[in-house]
Amino acid sequence: MWWYVVKRLLQTIPVFLGATLIIFLLLKLRPGDPVLNLAGNKPVSPEVRDALAAQYHLDDPWYVQWPLFVKNAITLNFGDTFAGQPVIELIRETFPVTVVLAVMALAIDALLGIGLGTIAGLRRNGWFDSSMLVLSLALLSIPIFVVGFVMQLIFGVKLGWTTPTVGGDWNVGKLILPAVVLAIANFAYTLRLCRTSVAENLSADHVRTARAKGLSEPQVVVKHVLRNSLIPVITYIGINLGSLMAGAIITETIFNIPGIGNAAYQAIIRGETSTVVAFVTFMVMVYVLMSLLVDLLYAVLDPRIRYA
């Protein structure tokens, strides 16, 4: 197992460095006045200009600037927004609600995907399987913001089951609808993966041996099929986090959730590129960390790696 852990850790570092390098280069490779670029081509006061120049070390060569960028990122020093608020503070305000939203969406994705996927896998090629396939693919085909709008319209406005927008005072109840929207965009993949995994395991040799021992069919399915099928699904769900974060931007905008995605969007409209980059860097860091954790979880779950 140590091999696996060390290898994984060693992989994370260049990945993180590389990602920051790319984001950093994107900033640097544009022609024109860097300060104006950072400020979205709007005129800035000399104070802001000086602050930006200092923050981004615009007067230093790039190979000095990039490590500083990385250092800033790790120490969560993202500078200030145009409004003068430290970005890290803004993140601290908005991150919790996004986390709750993402976790809820992940849970719904997992429940729906695994639940329906297992049934579809157990009855492969049956009508349930085919209809689930078409349904999940159809949901995949619609852009998430359309799904968001439609759900908002039906459940929020027309049926009134929940508030159409969330707003500043949020609670878990109000986040259910946006979480469902977020989950819908993704659960098709989870479902398919689970279905294939279950169907494969059903006809596996060790399952036949389990039956030969005298176990009842439900026992066989739960103890031998499901546990084996879940490992690839769990790792996949971890990877899903990435697209969840991207989806969060759109969902939070539609439902007016004061999360990190919404803040990023506001920054985009205002052309505050530096803030946008700060948000994206933060989200990438979270994603890299999450995927590392999921991979380590995988090592724990699969004894072939744990006791290699």
Partner: protein, 570 residues
């Protein structure tokens, strides 16, 4: 001894649904087993033997069903019994030891827990008592250090250990009948003998009847008193084992008895047949050598020893327990031998002996750590330039083990055989086509096969194509790396015959890698016995079989299943 049969299969038929059609896998089979008795069902793949065994406890795959007949277990017909009844029987009355030890254990569960499951499901023991029982069962099955092993996972066991665990699992609830489906086919021959001996002892002590499924006639006759021979879903012959072996009546059984290597190798007739082949081959090879010696274009000098291997060694660097550690693994250790023109040298060893690694180094598919390989006097590592390399390649060609992977599935048979000709720019398109036809003829395949694809051919047919491809460039040496190991017994015999005929006709020299010592007598003149990378014994075939010097060689010979059965015309 009880006089009521334990299991009676009467006129059983089993079919599989494929789309809209029904394929009959078992057709009107009859079988009787008495308590405490061991019987063996023998057949090739497709004979229906495994299907019949699985049908007994209703373990057919989803599209299979029993379409007729009765299965009477202790007098009651279980072919039509409900799910619950069968479940009650499974494990407690009828146990199963399945074939492939790796895929039949759940990789995510500890071995002990999987055996405990058998105890709990059949209400034999629960909780701590069951845990104790598990350790006892593992010890009974011959697993050393059972208590520690029970807490380990399947991937930490070797193949033989896993099979013992499966035996423990099958016998856990003390069934009256144990179905052993090719329980040792995936194992080395010496391990196989150990495990089967142990199983025999165990089942004798416990009074368990055994239905042994196998493709090896020798093994069946050795382990069982009563034999059932199946062919294409039907029982073609059955009766006392020794009788059947000494006096087979049905043409199919006669075929099996005459061709099965473990039994055929006992016959003097196969030895004399081989001597004839060798004579012809060496004559032909001498002519080829003379040509090579004269010509300046041909690779090599036409010497007697077409292949000389000196002190060949291969060391692999593996990862150690900690990430920064490296462990040296010596796969091949100082191997030397000579291959005379027109003869066959066999390299025999169990898994991990290094025999395949030697073959790959000789073929220059794997770099050598130290030592030399001389082809007809030329050191293959000293070849200069692309032209010389290509000329070397023409002289030595491989035939590999896995017929399902040795041909590119996207190439037609014609393209596969033509490829070497194209790579070496031989002849015009028309000439190449003629050559391909000629080659197909040599390997006894109809030329209509040219437009087919590998997916449509059987394993034996694909091996023939692989042989045809190997012969396309008129090589002097053919390296057969377990070339017949993946084939059914009769098909194997056919391919061996083909190889022998080709050798006599073309003066080929073979390096024949195999784990099956029994096959060696029919095809080889000299033998190298390898163990753990080293050569243990090296001599002519007759010497090794009649007068083995080393203990390991004797062990290998002993382990040949059916080797000790007296034959009528030995």
């Amino acid at each position: 001894m009880s006089s009521q049969p334990l299991l009676q299969i009467e006129d059983l038929s089993v079919s599989f649904r494929a789309g809209k059609e029904f394929l009959t896998a078992v057709d009107g089979a009859n079988l009787t087993i008495y308590p405490g008795q061991t019987i063996a069902i023998v057949g090739e793949s497709g004979s229906g033997k495994s299907t019949m065994a699985h049908a007994v406890i209703d373990l057919l795959p989803g599209n299979g069903q029993i379409t007729g007949g009765h299965i009477l277990f202790e007098g009651a017909d279980i072919a039509t019994a409900g799910r619950d009844k069968i479940m009650a029987l499974r494990g407690s009355s009828i146990g199963l030891v399945p074939q492939d030890p790796m895929s039949n254990l759940n990789p995510l569960w500890k071995v002990g827990r999987q055996i405990k499951e058998a105890l709990v499901a059949n209400d034999v023991a629960h909780g701590a008592e069951a845990d104790r029982r598990v350790v006892e069962l593992l010890e009974e099955a011959g697993l050393p250090d059972a208590e520690r092993r029970a807490r380990q996972f399947p991937h930490e066991f070797s193949g033989g250990m896993r099979q013992r665990a499966l035996i423990a699992m099958g016998l856990a609830a003390r069934p009256k009948l144990l179905i052993a489906d090719e329980p040792t086919s995936a194992l080395d021959v010496t391990v196989q003998k150990q495990i089967l001996d142990h199983l025999d002892q165990l089942t004798d002590n416990l009074g368990v009847a055994v239905m042994l499924i196998t493709h090896d006639l020798g093994l069946a006759a050795e382990r069982a008193d009563h034999l059932v021979v199946m062919y294409r879903g039907r029982v073609v012959e059955s009766g006392p084992a020794l009788e059947i072996l000494q006096d087979p009546q049905h043409p199919y059984t006669q075929r099996l008895v005459s061709k099965a290597p473990s039994i055929a190798s006992q016959r003097l007739s196969s030895v004399s047949a081989r001597a004839e082949i060798r004579e012809q081959a060496m004559e032909q090879a001498a002519e080829v050598a003379a040509e090579v010696a004269e010509s300046s274009e041909e690779f090599g000098s036409g010497s007697d020893d077409v292949l000389v291997v000196e002190n060949l060694t291969k060391v692999f660097q593996l990862r150690g327990a900690k990430p920064w550690e490296k462990v040296d693994f010596t796969a091949v250790d100082d191997v030397s031998f000579r291959l005379r023109r027109g003869t066959t040298t066999a390299i025999v060893g169990e898994s991990g002996s290094g025999k395949s690694t030697v073959a790959r180094m000789v073929l220059d598919l794997l770099p050598v750590t130290s030592g030399r390989v001389l082809f007809d006097g030329v050191d293959i590592r000293q070849l200069s330039g692309k032209a010389q390399r290509l000329r070397f390649r023409r002289q030595m060609q491989p035939v590999f083990q896995n017929p399902y992977a040795s041909l590119d599935p996207l190439y037609s048979i014609y393209q596969s055989i033509e490829e070497p000709l194209r790579t070496h720019d031989v002849g015009t398109k028309k000439q190449r086509e003629t050559k391909v036809r000629d080659l197909l003829d040599k390997v006894s395949l109809p030329t209509t096969v040219m437009s087919r694809y590998p997916g449509e051919l059987s394993g034996g047919q694909r091996q023939r194509v692989a042989i045809a491809r190997a012969l396309a460039l008129d090589p002097e040496v053919v390296i057969c790396d377990e070339a017949v190991s993946a084939l059914d017994v009769l098909v194997q015999a056919q391919i061996l015959e083909l190889l022998n005929d080709l050798q006599a006709e073309l003066g080929l020299s073979y390096l024949f890698i195999t784990h099956d010592l029994a096959v060696v007598r029919q095809i080889a003149d000299n033998v190298l016995v390898m163990q753990d990378g080293k050569v243990v014994e090296q001599a002519s075939v007759t010497e090794v079989f009649d007068n083995p010097r080393e203990a390991y060689t004797r062990k290998l010979l002993d382990a040949i299943p059916g080797g000790s059965i007296p034959l009528a015309n030995a």
